[in-house]
């Protein structure tokens, strides 16, 4: 989100906040979120893609809603209205091509209305078929999860994203030779995908509450949390849309504090640190170990302020609209060990992966009499490897994930070991030592996260230890 977008969302929250006795908050957030998906989507060199991708996000949300609706639940009048408005809004976005100031809603010229109409029709047919034919069927639920994971893999893997870009370019009559993985920037899909998988999995497990289409779509593409999370749970999020809310001065102050903190973190601290944070270019320019450490530290703090700042902004904006989003950071760089770090860094992602990967896998392994040590080792490595892959299917993110997986395993074993042989060191020594060691471990790990090529990382490590 840009500063302008944040200010406009804030203004909308302030204006609407005083009028919720007259304005239906559920519908307002639905409308705003649907339009924001298009508005926030960045430009792409592939024709119509900045329209197609947001529309596909909405289509996927609708399809998954249709698929996961309990069989005994009937489609309500409100759901029909929501479906109609959703389709209407997608058509309206395309129709803005004829209305000059409104056409800026999309980063590129909106597509032809007949193209949008066909798109909406296909989506409606697809959602309808899912609803009438395979609603709630296990196979359909798991196939949907696989489809979403497949899309995620294509987006996150540079060669696959490039191939997809080439295919889309061919479809739209453009030169596929010019395809680039950067063409395929599907805004917020990493978060959308994990929300959808959570819903599908919980439906398969029979623990998903019935949710209206309006609230479900709002949950999936809620604009404050679209670009950088947090990843909320549907049963926690949607009831908040049903409660009475009127923005009062206390809430305004709390929201304002979060917004200002977030703006300061993101647009002052993170953006300032970006000037000299480690990257693939300066990794080869810096000659001294001291400066290389400074660049690495700058990256370490930059990534924290950037991400935590966005989270503050998302939570602050959510508060203005009466939605309390979950916290995502809790002073992670002040934790005494790696386990505590991962319980306080991108907490909603960690909880998601724990719920939908680590716990089931660990249970399955235990059930198959695998030794506990191997269960922990395998679980930690693959869980963190998965979190690495979520950031991108490239060697550096995988290495970063395994670095943390190994660190968590070692910490786990150290904790078990130290319980049997308690040390007599004072907390005034162990606490700062633990914080420094954890921070150093995490910061060294950022080398892989920051640099796309193995040679870059090797060069940085050699300078860091004074071998260059």
């Amino acid at each position: 989100m840009t500063l302008t977008q944040i200010f406009i969302f804030t203004a909308l929250g302030l204006v609407a906040g005083g009028f919720y006795k007259r304005v239906n908050r559920g519908w307002l957030l639905f409308l705003a979120s649907v339009l924001a998906v298009f508005w926030l989507q960045p430009a792409s060199l592939i024709r119509n893609l900045p329209f197609v991708l947001p529309a596909a996000s909405l289509g996927l949300a609708t399809a998954v809603w249709a698929l996961t609706l309990p069989r005994e639940t009937k489609i309500s009048r409100q759901d029909w209205w929501a479906a109609g408005i959703l389709g209407g809004l997608i058509l309206l976005v395309s129709a803005t091509r004829f209305i000059e100031p409104l056409s800026d809603l999309l980063a590129v010229r909106p597509p032809a209305v007949d193209f949008a109409a066909i798109f909406v029709l296909v989506l409606a047919l697809f959602a309808g078929l899912l609803f009438w034919l395979v609603r709630g069927r296990m196979l359909a639920l798991y196939l949907s999860i696989m489809l979403i994971v497949a899309i995620l893999i294509v987006i996150k893997s540079p060669p696959l994203a490039q191939a997809a870009s080439g295919a889309l370019r061919s479809l739209s009559g453009q030169d596929p030779a010019l395809a680039s993985p950067l063409d395929f920037g599907w805004l917020g899909f990493s978060y959308i995908a994990f929300r959808l998988i959570h819903v599908l999995r919980d439906r398969a497990a029979g623990r998903l509450p019935a949710v209206s289409l309006r609230d479900f779509v709002t949950y999936i593409v809620f604009f404050p949390a679209l670009t950088s999370g947090p990843i909320d749970r549907v049963e926690r999020f949607t009831p908040q849309l049903q409660t009475d809310f009127l923005l009062d001065s206390d809430q305004l102050l709390t929201a304002g504090r979060r917004l200002i903190t977030g703006l300061f973190m993101k647009f002052v601290l993170a953006d300032a640190l970006a000037f000299f944070a480690l990257n693939a270019v300066n990794a080869w320019q810096v000659q001294s170990a001291g400066w290389m450490w400074l660049l690495l530290l700058a990256f370490s703090f930059r990534i924290f302020f950037d991400f935590a700042g966005y989270t503050h902004i998302a939570i602050g904006l959510g508060m203005l609209f009466g939605v309390v989003l979950p916290e995502n950071f809790d002073q992670p760089y002040l934790k005494q060990n790696l386990t505590a770090f991962w319980n306080s860094w991108h907490m909603t992602l960690t909880q998601w992966v724990r719920s939908y990967y680590f716990n089931p896998v660990a249970r399955w392994l235990r059930a198959h009499k695998i030794p506990i040590l191997l269960v922990i080792l395998f679980g930690q490595l693959t869980t963190m490897g998965l979190i690495g892959l979520w950031h991108g299917i490239t060697w550096n993110f995988i290495t970063w994930g395994f670095w943390h997986g190994a660190g968590l395993f070692i910490h786990n074993q150290w904790t078990a070991f130290s319980k049997t042989r308690p040390f007599s060191l004072s907390p005034s020594i162990t606490v700062p030592l633990g914080i420094i060691a954890t921070f150093a471990f995490v910061t060294i790990g950022w080398v892989w996260f920051a640099l796309p090529q193995p040679a870059d990382a090797a060069r940085v490590f050699s300078v860091l230890v004074g071998m260059k």
Binding site: S249, L253, A272, F275
Partner: protein, 375 residues
């Protein structure tokens, strides 16, 4: 209206009022010069070897800005007390002096420093690069005027015809955005430059306010932030792998800055601005050098020396400058052919490292001869 709504409105009104007061107060006080002096350079970060300039900030860790205070504050000159054994030489001028497409060691000042000269009384000669990559004698004068506070012993002022046309005096963005400073120079030295020229950016109260100055403020902050990468890498210029060389085949045009043959007149050129600079230097000697240029032997080279200059204009300019220097008793040397044609890069005045060495050798001979500066 209930109490909560009253608090809400009061909060918004108070915040808006406070915001407005700060914005307007900024315009009334005009703290930009004072802010320009606030710098991380020369204490936390090493001073820069040359004035800030960068068309590609992300790769050169350098940027263009208009605050002379901030530019000089970032230069190592501002952080260097003049030692008793230092003979201080400022090198002012255009992009060829600044060192376009050259690392610091390969600029004229860098090469002159490498020669380790000493003055006749035994002081170490230290050269400071105060070039700025825009061509205008008025811009040079403005920099010289500001730099005089740093107590030079000698000023080296390489010039080229492109800096002389009256129409180009206000074309430098640095000049345009320092309108008050330039108007003061025009008035002080009675320069042949129109103080009401539309190029000179007029600032009203709103422009001086916090909102109006946000871009300049951001540039000053960015200059500090790029300082970290400057300190870490000593990179302050982006030199591409491949450079498109200056044109050899030329257009068959005799036009120069809207002037036509057969010859230039003194009134067509800003010689008075050069004179003002020498006057401003006072007792400090100024050595004016006519810079080397590329001389083409391609198509239409019988009409033009290069893409910058038709032959009639350049020959006429050299005569005028020589004549004016003799009449006024200036220290002047014409080094227009001191560098081999193969040592020019993307323009007829930008030099390769080898070209700079050739110019340095020619300059060293003049130093020895006129100022007794020797290795």
């Amino acid at each position: 209206m209930d109490s909560q709504k009253i608090s809400f409105v009061r909060l918004i009104v108070k915040a808006a009022l406070l915001f407005t007061v700060v914005i307007l107060l900024f315009g009334a006080v005009n703290p930009m010069p004072a802010i320009g002096h606030m710098t991380l350079y020369n204490w936390l970060l090493p001073g820069r070897e040359r004035l800030p300039y960068g068309d590609d900030p992300e790769r050169s860790y350098n940027l263009n800005l208009y605050s002379l205070e901030a530019m000089f504050a970032s230069h190592k000159l501002a952080g260097t007390s003049k030692a008793a054994d230092e003979f201080r030489v400022f090198v002012i001028g255009d992009s060829s002096v600044w060192g376009f497409l050259l690392e610091n060691k390969d600029t004229l000042a860098g090469a002159l420093n490498a020669a380790s000269l000493h003055s006749a009384d035994g002081r170490r000669v230290v050269f400071y690069n105060l070039g700025h990559p825009t061509i205008s004698l008025t811009k040079d004068l403005m920099i010289l005027d500001y730099a005089m506070q740093y107590d030079p012993d000698l000023i080296l002022w390489p010039v080229t015809l492109e800096a002389f046309p009256l129409s180009k005096q206000t074309s430098s963005p640095l000049v345009q955005n320092n309108a008050n400073r330039v108007r003061e120079l025009i008035s002080r030295f009675d320069l042949p430059v129109d103080p009401n020229n539309v190029d000179l950016v007029a600032q009203d109260f709103w422009d001086r306010s916090l909102i109006g100055q946000r871009r300049n403020l951001a540039d000053i902050v960015r200059l500090q932030l790029y300082g970290f990468m400057w300190a870490a890498t000593r990179i302050d210029v982006h030199i591409p792998e491949e450079i498109k060389l200056r044109a050899v085949d030329l257009e068959a045009s005799e036009d120069f800055a809207g002037l036509q043959p057969p010859e230039l007149r003194a009134v067509d050129l800003a010689i008075d601005v050069l004179a003002a600079g020498i006057q401003r230097a006072g007792d400090v000697p100024v050595l004016v050098i006519n810079e080397p240029i590329f001389v083409s032997d391609g198509a239409n080279s019988e009409i033009r020396y290069n893409s910058f200059y038709p032959r009639w204009a350049y020959d006429s300019y050299r005569s005028l400058l020589q004549e004016q220097s003799q009449q006024s008793g200036w220290n002047y040397v014409d080094l227009w052919q001191a560098v081999a044609n193969s040592e020019f890069t993307n323009t007829p005045i930008h030099l390769t490292p080898q070209g700079t060495l050739e110019l340095t050798d020619a300059t060293l001979a003049v130093f020895d001869d006129q100022f007794k500066l020797q290795p």
